[in-house]
């Protein structure tokens, strides 16, 4: 059994991996304002996927923060956020789109070669197609390392927080089911930086125990709702 591996995802790239139940994925920002826009699917049935509304409302939070559980649309825990140097990861503003690239000027492969600028949407779709998935499977992502806070007020206007993540900031997930993880490292769509310089993200994958989660695990004790989603994941594997 392999102990684990490391993979650095360049800025402005896409990547996908399968993560076995019990294994962990630690992401580390290798620069300021790094973003990992992540989609999650149950590997056994990609029709079951991350559901941001269920995740947020069940845990009464408009942000992703440890020890929250990332929940599927079938009421199961997909992954637990077991630790992070940051207390806020964005899940309400989605991935960047091609129009977000306009301010950087024209880019094409002929001139920019592998520096060709792509939006997170294009990158995620390319990666989904590889797995036989597509636009219908694109769902609200978690933008790890990004913070977009709602203001108080009638409309809850949103403000992107520049510099929220710096080199060395990290987040760690534990897979609660066998997962397909798809991510892109394009700049956050609300990042106003005028220059294209997306930071790389380091991924460390480590094998873990797929056994029952201890009753005193922080994600278990966080909220009754989190525990029920974890119990549903565990029960479904019996």
């Amino acid at each position: 059994m392999t102990e684990g591996y490391r993979h650095d995802v360049p800025g402005g790239a896409a990547w996908s991996l399968t993560l076995r139940r019990g294994s962990t994925l630690r992401l580390e920002a290798l620069g300021t304002d790094a973003v990992a826009s992540m989609l999650l699917f149950a590997a056994a049935n990609p029709g079951e996927r991350l559901n941001v509304p269920d995740t947020l409302k069940a845990q009464m939070s408009a942000r992703i923060t440890p020890p929250m559980v990332l929940m599927s649309d079938l009421g199961r825990a997909l992954a637990s956020v077991t630790g992070s140097s940051l207390d806020w990861h964005d899940a309400i503003t989605g991935h960047s789109i091609d129009a977000d690239l306009d301010r950087f000027g024209p880019s094409d492969y002929g001139r920019d070669r592998n520096g060709w600028r792509r939006s997170a949407r294009s990158l995620l779709l390319d990666e989904l197609y590889v797995h036989g998935l597509g636009e219908r499977d694109l769902h609200a992502c978690v933008n790890f390392f990004a913070k977009v806070a709602p203001a108080s007020g009638e409309r809850a206007a949103l403000a992107y927080a520049p510099g929220h993540a710096g080199t060395g900031d990290w987040v760690r997930l534990r897979a609660e089911l066998d997962l397909l993880v798809v991510l892109a490292t394009a700049p956050h769509p609300l990042d106003p930086a005028p220059h294209w310089d997306p930071a790389p993200v380091r991924a460390d994958v480590a094998a873990g125990e797929p056994g029952p989660i201890p009753a005193d695990d922080p994600s278990m004790t966080f909220r009754a709702e989190s525990a029920r989603a974890l119990a549903a994941a565990e029960r479904s594997l019996l």
Binding site: G47, N51, V52, P53, D54, L56, K57, A58, M60, S61, A62, R63, T65, M71, D73, L74, G75, R76, W88, I92, T93, G94, H95, I97, A99, R121, G134, E135, R136, D137, L138, H139, A140, C141, A149, P150, A151, S152, E154, R155, A156, A157, L158, P189, L190, A224, E225, R228, A229, A232
Partner: protein
Amino acid sequence: MTGTRETLRLLDVTVAAGDGWIGEIPAGGRLRIVDLHGNQAVDTLIYDARDTANRYSAVDTVRAQGAVYLTTGSVLRSVRHDPLATIVDDTCGRHDTLGGACAKESNVVRYGEHTRHQHACRATFLRYAVTYGLDKRDLTHNINFFMNVPVTPDGGLTFADGVSAPGKHVELRAERDILVLISNCPQLNNPCNGYDPTPVRLLGWAR
């Protein structure tokens, strides 16, 4: 009988508490949703009627308008960032984009095992979606018209008593031919509807 609108009426239906509806509104047409008894959550999904993969996107809508809640002037955008519909009239004031729909499985997570066999929005969505050849993969993070889901600057999120009232309405103008899928939420476990799902009325005009 008198106004132009009257002669172009497309629909006037009452959706019972816990029931659903699906139908097309042509480009330039309007759909008004009336909260007949107040504080009823109307879970709504919108698709490009000619290409249903080009569907409503909560995150693109929220990001493009730079605010969480929907109200008059909000443009409801698709995954390709196309305008699907615009809210042209709103006597309620704001509508939820974050709460999504209820499902039996998420009810169990939120409220406990005793809610497993309660009626829930996803079943209603699917029952109507299949009549248009859509299935679970076509369901996404929906709008909850009339629902109050306060978010706070420190990242809190709760469900609260509604801000709607009997007779309040919201009206959409279709920016292209759209397919609208509605679940009139049967949720019995949270205060957004006073624990009492009630009927809503849908009025549609071709322009």
